[in-house]
Subunit: 656 residues, 2 copies
């Protein structure tokens, strides 16, 4: 009976996807055997609906055969990676949105009760941060932090299974949702943890691939791209940011895979928004409506260049404070002890402090504290001139949607220069304080918003100096401070992370390509300032502090290599050697030379014991060989394999 089913299925399969089956049979007989064994196991004679189940399985196999003939498993996995990550991103955004709305509703309901409002404002984020810390640390301690430095290390070839486990995925999703729901008081973002999240999804799909066809895809680079793409719905900058932030040497062969996965992710993310009736069609996330006829005058390019230099300088100040704070919480006895034992309490306390400072009836009204992260960015990218609007606030025409957000920046007619200045000064150290929180959180989005505020300040200043625009020739156009905010956001985030791709990110985020050229200029200049004197980037600094493994000398590994020394002649295939030995033992009378029976393969590259692991790593990856022969004066000292290189690297720490 069982025999019969199997044969039938095999026939159906052969008919449906003969070519695919053949390929499969040739390449991984082992996987097929496992499958058949499972099938046999499942078809226990006592199980019900045997015929129906067999037919379903048959159909599934047919579909699989057809799919396999259209494209390889790799591409389906890449597509699935994009869709899955986008789904996680979308539903996380949905949850965060609801939680933020609940907070805002509660706060507004308590209008008139100042104390209750204060408690609502401070305890809500404090409890969410405590929950986030507790949850992530109890389920998987590795889920705290941004995760991007670890992803970089993994992309270097290091195995860090703890960082790719399902429990980590779960902890990170819940923890990150809580962190983001704490809102703009805590001022933390989503991007870097999401890159980590999508890497975990990628690793999971990789394992699935292994079980299906017995080999890995290496989807980690693509996964990093998908993370950014499905956070912002920006596929192009997603790919470029992930290359810049995580790789040192990029194979152009991976380009298409990355783009495919990122495009799937971004498209799914945006289509979900359409399906949820947030948007009518696939649109940019922070759509702006700058004038396209005359977005800026040519002389303004100089101001954009100066803005880039300014952003670079502020980025150096920020990185200095950031590194100092990271050092402080490690060296200060009180804080480090608290972080070792009472993480949740520390999180709650810091969130409470942040809430107190940003309380809208206190200092918060000078920092537009009522706006959420998204609203902050949307308001800063506004094309209107706030200073002019705030002066004519009495004769204001009724506005709707995002166009009223600027009112938060000018409470009771306060000058916007004052509020923007307070925002910039306060948020710098508040962000540094928030970055010490031991919970899943990213720093890209806050940095991006901070940069937008710098740009806005410059833009408003320029608009104040030239109220009728910079004339050149007959026509005139007003200064658009939103354009400066755009360039500032890209330049500052580019300078902090040492990347150029934020210039493309703002283009995709806003759907506004009028300012592409000056933005790119500002980003390049900011990068030049930030990178001078070989300062580490944000992710470098985090890697250094976390003492993530680096590449030490090979000398530390060779001790485990063979003690005896023999001249290396070449290598012989195991199968050939076995058949040779078989012949010998079968009693053929003439004792042949090894070289007569087998073809001795020459060893193309020897490496000496004095070389570093970095060199071995480089040579292995460029030659694509799984092992290298370590020789000393031609004598074999040992063999170093790829897993050894990777594993030994993990035991040593950064010494930069």
């Amino acid at each position: 009976m069982e025999e019969f089913y199997l044969t039938e299925e095999a026939d159906a399969c052969t008919a449906a996807g003969k070519c695919e089956e053949n390929k499969k049979h040739q390449s991984n007989k082992r996987a097929a055997a496992t499958e058949e064994r499972l099938l046999l196991h499942n078809q226990h004679p006592m199980k019900p609906w045997q015929h129906a189940r067999a037919r379903v399985k048959e159909n599934v196999r047919c579909v699989w055969g057809i799919l396999g003939s259209v494209g390889s498993v790799e591409w389906y996995c890449l597509g699935a990676l994009g869709v899955l990550t986008a789904l996680i991103s979308f539903f996380m955004d949905l949850c965060v949105g609801k939680l933020l709305k609940a907070h805002s509703w509660l706060y507004n309901e308590l209008q008139g009760y100042r104390l209750l409002q204060f408690l609502c404002w401070t305890l809500y984020p404090a409890s969410l941060c405590t929950l986030s810390t507790m949850f992530s640390h109890s389920v998987c301690p590795q889920s705290a932090g941004s995760g991007l430095p670890e992803v970089r290390t993994m992309l270097l070839g290091l195995d860090m299974p703890d960082f790719l486990s399902l429990s980590n995925l779960f902890a990170k999703v819940v923890g990150l949702t809580c962190t983001l729901a704490a809102g703009s008081a805590v001022f933390l973002g989503k991007v870097s943890p999401f890159i980590h999240l999508s890497t975990m999804v990628g690793a999971f799909l990789d394992r699935l691939c292994v079980s299906i066809r017995g080999e890995e895809n290496g989807m980690l680079v693509a996964a990093a791209a998908v993370g950014v793409a499905s956070c912002f719905g920006a596929p192009i900058s997603g790919v470029l940011f992930s290359i810049e932030a995580t790789c040192t040497l990029f194979s152009v062969r991976n380009y298409c895979c990355c783009f495919f996965a990122a495009a799937t992710g971004a498209l799914t993310f945006r289509l979900l928004a359409v399906w949820n009736r947030e948007q009518e069609t696939v649109q940019a996330l922070f759509k702006t409506s700058f004038s396209t006829d005359l977005p800026y005058y040519a002389p303004e390019i100089l101001v954009f260049a100066l803005l880039g230099l300014l952003c670079g300088a502020v980025a150096r100040l920020f990185m200095h404070s950031f590194r100092w704070s990271l050092l402080f919480i490690r060296t200060n006895r009180v804080v480090s002890r608290m972080l070792a034992t009472e993480k949740s309490f520390y999180s709650g306390m810091v969130a409470f402090i942040l809430g107190t400072i940003t309380f809208p009836h206190g200092a918060g009204q000078l920092m537009a504290a009522k706006l959420s992260m998204k609203q902050l960015l949307a308001s800063l990218l506004d094309r209107q001139q706030w200073q002019v609007l705030s002066q004519n606030v009495s004769v204001m025409v009724p506005q709707k949607g995002h166009e009223t957000l600027w009112l938060e920046w000018s409470p009771a007619g306060t000058s916007v220069f004052y509020t923007l200045g307070v925002f910039l000064i306060m948020k710098l150290w508040l962000l540094v304080l928030a970055s010490t929180l031991p919970l899943p959180a990213g720093y890209f989005m806050p940095i991006f918003i901070y940069g937008a505020a710098i740009g806005r300040l410059v833009g408003e200043g320029l608009a104040y100096m030239f109220p009728n625009g910079i004339h050149s020739g007959s026509s005139s156009c007003l200064i658009n401070p939103g354009g400066y905010a755009l360039a500032g956001a890209a330049a500052f985030s580019g300078a902090v992370t040492h990347t150029v791709s934020p210039a493309i990110l703002v283009l995709e985020l806003t759907g506004q390509s009028t300012h592409a050229a000056p933005t790119l200029l500002a980003v390049l200049l900011a990068n030049a300032v930030a990178r001078s004197c070989r300062r580490p980037s944000l992710y470098d600094a985090l890697s250094l502090v976390k003492q993530l493994p680096h590449l030490p000398s090979l000398l530390r590994i060779v001790s485990c290599l063979f003690p005896e020394s023999r001249i290396l002649l070449g290598s012989v295939h195991r199968l050939e050697l076995e058949s040779f030995l078989h012949h010998q033992t079968e009693g053929h009378n003439e004792l042949k030379q090894l070289a007569d029976g087998c073809s001795v393969q020459p060893v193309p590259v020897h490496i000496s014991a004095e070389s570093t692991v970095q060199q071995a790593y480089g040579v292995m990856s460029v030659l694509g060989v799984p092992q290298l022969y370590v020789t000393d004066h031609g004598r074999l000292r040992g063999i170093i394999t790829w897993p050894q290189v990777i594993c030994k690297m993990a035991k040593h720490t950064v010494v930069r």
Copy 2:
């Protein structure tokens, strides 16, 4: 007297840029010595205005010192590369524009004289093509063709000095100008030769760098990026296209250099247009004005995907014809003999045939032949529905500028489907015919326009099927055929060149980011179709036909290595060895061991004589070493140096 001037200058220099001077003195004393010698030579006692000249030189040195303290020479060279290439591009466009205008003026003046118009239409491009061929072949035969395959080979590390000479630059500039001035009848483009041009400029600046500070920059990758960027004013896609089309492994370290040079080039190119009053400010080259509120409905994404698949299929058809034509002109005796001896005649004849076929009073009126390349693209990207317009042509409101270009596509009320169909069928083989011309010309732009026409046809068809737009919910929006033209252009050019970056190029070219997501999708699908079964791309096909050098086995080189065999212990620095020998010869009584006097450096990597040049090349580039030791059983067989690897590769041809 001379002494005195020199000292004074040295003092001034020290005061102005002491730090820079110190660095300079330490690093390249030789260059400084050469400079001083030149100075001495110049200051002949008979020369006039010695004081004034000395002061000028002093000032130049001071400025150089200050510049050197701001950034390294490399960055100035990159900037200069961008500016120079943009200048060439701009003035070439200016010349081509004037020549095209002259042709159009002459043609219109001859209105009524059909025969004279025919002669004007055919002989003008024929004579220009003849001139282009004659000039380029008499000055530098290597300047013919696109040049991109050669750039790819050079980026692999091969030296091809003929392709980087100044005479080639000159021949290419003049030849390309003539080719482009032949207009849309010949239907050839500018991009690939421009990449070659900017590579030549880059190589020239590289040589300048060598003479200034004694080391090369390796600006070739950046130069390729600048080429695209200053052709289209599109820095981002310039960098990405050059990476995809020319590299196989890209070092992320080069990212910033490439972006800086490309941004300088693009910005200069656009600012020159502002200066020339073509535009009021820095704008996209083919600015479109699609609706940003509702650019397309979500279900239309499916149509974009189908368009991508269609473009992929047509790209395969095109590549098949293209390869066939390349083979034909090599194997057909008549054509190959004519191409060997009468290149100019062949060019003139082909251009005459092309002109005859596209004559506007003949078949040309069904191909919108009167439009120039730029007008063709601008008209195809029009957002209006031509089919609707052509039906209501009697009640047409007066339009201006680009909005009347579509009239060429519907002469005397002909259906636009008919004209677009004729255009697609005719231009396919006309382009294949034009690609056989032995003159400097690119194929990217014609392919781009052809793809736009495919997209336009699909878009117009959809608009015809859904005249009131695809309804979904309450609101409705009309189909925008221009969006399909955009996606089609990107998808077809991406499919032919096997790149993804055209998706970003259309974004930058049109300044329209509403269609980014569906365009990327279409490009990816088109690539998937075009790349299946490992078909070569346009540039691969050209490389194969030109038999550009590939990487042969190392065995062919080792014959020139040392004949004696010695065990390799390590290497010793020349200076140390010299001082050791000096000590020995000075008569110190004890004869020391070499290892006591010098530090013997271990050799990290040995390579065996059986390895291939590709392996040697890979190992050298990943380790960054200038030579490798070739050993056999630990015995030194020879040393293989970087120039040797490169030079030996050049002697062997592709065997794919």
